[in-house]
Amino acid sequence: MQFEYFISGGDFSKAGQASSQFKKALQQLNVAPQVIKRIVVALYEAEVNIVAHAYKGKISIELQPDLVTMTLTDEGPGIPDIEKAMEIGYSTASSKVREMGFGAGMGLSNIKNNADLLEIISKVGIGTTVKISVNLAKQE
């Protein structure tokens, strides 16, 4: 099953809408609440990253009965040092973005904590692709 959402950079008022919509789909599919929580938190952080840093982006989600793969592709500045960006508290967000309550430097590490698989490919000056996978099987 496919889902697609388009994200425009800089529109913080709408940040989180794609995650919210996808959450509703997962709830209808009877995915375990704690798994939904992990997926939505990871997706929300990645969605906000596009809003905060890129010009525009797209979220493509491939949903299988046992696995969800979310691919977020943006046109933006790219990440020069991915390892550094993964560090807790590291942020390149402008003070303006931080004033809005975003950009605390927790995004990528928060995604990593909630994902079963995280891949980041980035080209400076072109954009970033973040691929997040989460297993749907109930982990109890």
Binding site: M1, Q27, N30, P33, Y44
Partner: protein, 445 residues
């Protein structure tokens, strides 16, 4: 915990209901449909919030209370009274006068619900300290909110604090106190005077408890009418003034918005009105709102002052209760003084059992079947007009599409689909009329 049949205090009087769709539109959990010209309730979806009751223009929705005369089968007839009750009266009637009248209409004792709030407040802060992983902690005060979380926010059920609300603590105390005085428990009747339907449902089929300490429930509007009539007819009656002030100003305000959150040590929010609560919880569930310690969530606007069964304007009720200054009330030390003697007894019984989610959102238990159904919903949505008119008997086009997929509705119930099919000759106007009668009843055509 045993699986129980859900008790709903909200009932539909089918002889009065004329299928006007007011309730259909306001229900926050889409629990109502129109069939045969009448509103019908999906019992597993209803959270007893009372929005339908408030919206009904002909009082076809009622809140089922216990027979008032039943109180007389008990020798000790205790009114478990929330502060909201007093708040309904104009300030020219003082509390003593109101209490005397409650006794005159049949009760022998009055037990104020909020006298346990001081004890509970300490327990809430302790519970928060012991459960740092459960942030934000959600208050267990409002039973409609507990049910809402169970059905719509299943991932947040573990955030509900597993502590009894003041009502249950006080009921426990009240019974214990009387039985300790040597009174046979069978002769004690504890009757809660309820401002809403959700409290009744919580008493009749408790969540996280095996049984309730409360004998019966009397609707607040019913008792208000009896008490007010008595006061009006006995203006000159002497007030004995023997009722001691048992509540502090803080306790009196507990059931109003901010009543709990103001006392919480940490970052807290107080959100009232069920749609506001849904908005807020959506964000909490997505982790968009972070670093919150405590949430006081109430289903009614102005919290219990806005309960479906209160008789006065909710802002006036709140004003009267907020105006009680500390000198008019008991001090923090004397508030709940007698309950203090039972501290150990109550603290040992303050915990409730785990609360289980019961999602109403899933299309199927099996994910593969659910995915198929979701595809079908998507296809149906492309055919529907998206006007959410309710003529099909479902609250929205989306809810209708799900009803079709679950075999609870027929796509031809949509008036737009009917017109299109009549136009292409797939459907006759006789057939379309028959379908409409099925939803709206014979007499409308």
């Amino acid at each position: 915990m045993a699986v129980r049949h859900f008790h709903h205090a909200l009932k539909i009087r089918t002889e009065t209901c004329f299928g006007c769709t007011h309730c259909l539109k306001v229900c926050p959990t889409e629990a109502i449909r129109i069939r045969n010209g009448k509103a019908v309730l999906y019992e597993n979806r209803c959270v007893d919030c009372g929005e339908c009751f408030k919206a009904c223009p002909v009082q076809a929705i009622y809140i089922d209370q216990d027979d008032f005369e039943r109180i007389h089968t008990y020798e000790y007839r205790i009114a478990l009274l929330p502060s909201i009750f007093v708040g309904q009266f104009s300030r020219k009637y003082d509390r003593e006068q109101i209490y005397e009248a409650i006794k005159a209409v049949g009760f022998t004792h009055i037990c104020e619900v909020e006298q346990s709030t001081g004890l509970l407040q300490e327990q809430i802060n302790r519970y928060a300290a012991e459960n740092p992983d459960k942030k934000p902690l959600i208050s267990s005060f409002c039973p409609a909110i507990i049910r809402l979380i169970q059905v719509r926010f299943p991932s947040l059920v573990n955030n509900i604090m597993l502590l009894k609300p003041p009502l249950d603590i006080t009921a426990l105390y009240c019974r214990k106190k009387f039985t300790d005085e040597g009174i046979n428990p069978a002769r004690i009747g504890v009757f809660y005077i309820t401002p809403c339907a959700a409290k009744i449902a919580a008493i009749k089929s408790p969540v996280g408890e095996d049984y309730s300490m409360i004998t019966g429930v009397i609707n607040m509007d019913f008792l208000f009418n009896r008490v007010y009539r008595h006061i009006k007819n006995n203006q000159s009656a002497e007030v004995s003034g023997s009722n001691e002030k048992a509540l502090s100003a803080e306790a009196i305000r507990w059931s109003l918005t901010h009543g709990e959150s103001d006392h919480f040590e940490g970052r807290s929010f107080a959100v009232d009105e069920i749609h506001n609560v849904i908005d807020f919880l959506e964000k909490v569930e997505n982790d968009e709102i972070k670093n919150v310690d405590f949430l006081e969530l109430r289903a009614c606007d102005e919290s219990c002052a806005g309960g479906a069964l209160t008789t006065a304007n909710r802002f006036l009720i709140a004003e009267r209760l907020r105006s009680v200054k500390n000198e008019d009330a008991a001090s923090a030390e004397t508030s709940g003084k007698t309950i203090e003697n039972y501290r150990d007894y109550l603290e040992h019984r303050i915990k409730i059992q785990e609360i289980k989610p019961r999602s109403i959102m899933k299309l199927d238990d099996n994910i593969e079947t659910a995915m198929l159904k979701m595809d079908q919903v998507k296809e149906i949505m492309e055919l529907l007009p998206g006007t959410d008119c309710g003529i099909c008997g479902s609250p929205t086009c989306q809810a209708f599409a799900k009803d079709i997929v679950q075999n609870e509705a027929d796509i031809r119930q949509c008036i737009f689909i009917q017109k299109c099919r009549e136009n292409t000759g797939e459907f006759t106007s006789i057939e379309s009329l028959r379908l409409m009668k099925g939803i709206w009843g014979e007499e409308k055509f």
